[in-house]
Amino acid sequence: MLRDITLGQYFPGKSIIHKLDPRTKIILTILLIVMLFTGDKLICLGIGAAYTLMAVLLSRIPVKMFVKSVKPILPFLIITAAFNIFIIDKGDVLFHWKAIKITTGGINVSVFMIIRIVLLVAGSSLLTYTASPITITDAIEKLLSPLKKLHFPVHELAMMMSIALRFIPTLIEETDKIISAQKARGASIDSGTLRERAGNLISVIVPLFVSSFRRADELATAMECRCYNGGEGRTRLRQLRTSACDYIAAAVTVMFLAAVIAADKML
């Protein structure tokens, strides 16, 4: 049951989007967010939507995966939309009963908000669908490296992330083993009321913590034995390389962003 958990849900592939440098992808995702939240005209949102759709189609990842990524935030979307509809008082009044007032302005804002958030989630899912967690970690380390001058522990952060990623499968396996061992001793992990089950989880979490600390200790020794000495003077086997594709993608994105700004200002 625990084996189904995957982090980041990376789908290996060979599309243009996959081939982009992860650093480019992170920057473009940020630009997409800017694009989506710039301007409040329909045409602006239309351009943003066209851009997102183009990226999704280019990635050759089944559209239903994106639908899946939006699903968990549906309740959040509905609540936000409801708030906007009832609170915003702008434009023509469509419905009025005691304190409840629905206006065209409110509906407008709600619809915009829903579309924006759906596009936002789809766009950022594209990042995790097309770049493996480890390359994203690398890209974050590279992108944040100017912060080293401010003594921000960039390398340490990236190392922690990559070790965490490395140990996810190991710890999942271990959790499975502990659950079996506790079941063999008569613990009921997946029966009883919710309260009982939560209590029973302690018998899984405590051994898992103890063993994680032991692992951390051994791993630290092993890393020291292999001359690990922090980020100073390290070279990397995995090289991040930008190609013509990255520049083209960046140019296209900037064009779309410019179009959104122009549409917002002029029309």
Binding site: I134, R215, R226, R234
Partner: protein
């Protein structure tokens, strides 16, 4: 032959007080040799191993690796590059989630340039026969394969010697055979000195020299044939001898004139058939 590791009157106790875990060890390990350190739990064999690449420092006495004093902090990284260490649990020594990157970890740390690193990583992966798995995740590998990846990570550093602290203790028989074959291959093909800490008699029997530890001291130190012929001594400190050696020992005790230096099944079968042939005549 010159010695690569030399241990001189090594004493050690945790925190520098209390009962000594190592009570005066003197040992010279020759370059290119393959040495097993045998002993049961708590005999101090792992503690000894940890002194060789300065995870632990002597309470008194000295340890030198290729002329470097393990207490010399300035040369710590040089020392650890010369003496690589492989641990018992393969899961807790693999750092990266991609095999080839884990092999590169030590090289990355010492700042080896990309082109050379790429070449040394591929070489090391081929040497342990894991090249085809270079892009896999360690979680997809068997215990024996993970341990071979760990060995490749050390080989890539081009060490003078490798210390293996019970590398097969957590493996199945198949994995144990793989790892033992890899270790012997590293020794014979690349001339890397091997110090194998183990509690398996059959593994020790495959080495060129066996040192037996008990209670923080080395009690026997010789070629395996000589060491395992000391059946009485070994039994006294709670160690077994390989089954065939024990059989020969029991036969001799019962008055059969069989050789005492038998270590493998082949040798045993040969000796027994010789014995039977001479008996017929």
């Amino acid at each position: 032959m010159s010695s690569i590791i030399s241990i001189k009157d090594l004493h050690f106790s945790y925190g520098g007080e209390g009962e000594e875990v190592l009570k005066g060890i003197d040992m010279e390990i020759e370059k290119g040799s393959i040495v097993a350190v045998l002993g049961h739990n708590g005999s101090g064999k792992s503690t000894l191993a940890k002194h060789i690449n300065a995870i632990l420092l002597p309470t008194s006495g000295k340890v030198f690796v290729d002329g470097i004093d393990t207490c010399d902090e300035e040369r710590l990284f040089e020392l650890r590059q010369k003496a690589g260490m492989v641990f018992q649990n393969p899961d807790n020594q693999i750092v990266s989630s991609i095999v080839e990157e884990d092999v590169a970890f030590g090289l990355e740390n010492t700042g080896v340039p990309y082109e050379e690193m790429r070449q040394r990583v591929d070489e090391a992966l081929r040497a342990v026969g894991m090249y085809d798995h270079r892009l896999h995740s360690p979680s997809q590998l068997s215990g024996g394969q993970k341990q071979r990846v760990a060995i490749a990570g050390i080989i890539a550093m081009r060490p003078e010697c490798i210390i293996l602290d019970e590398p097969t203790a957590m493996l199945d028989p198949q994995g144990r055979r793989e790892v033992m074959a890899t270790i012997k291959d590293m020794n014979s093909r690349y001339g890397i000195t091997i110090l194998l800490i183990t509690h398996y008699m059959d593994e020790a029997a495959q080495c060129g020299r066996v040192a037996v530890m008990d209670g923080g001291r080395i009690v026997l130190d010789d070629v395996p044939e000589k060491v395992f012929s000391q059946v009485e001594t070994l039994k006294k400190i709670g160690l077994d001898v390989p089954q065939v050696t024990e059989l020969a020992y029991e036969l001799r005790k019962a008055g059969v004139g069989i050789r005492q230096d038998i270590l493998t099944e082949e040798q045993c079968a040969e000796a027994l058939s010789e014995l039977l042939a001479s008996g017929k005549r």
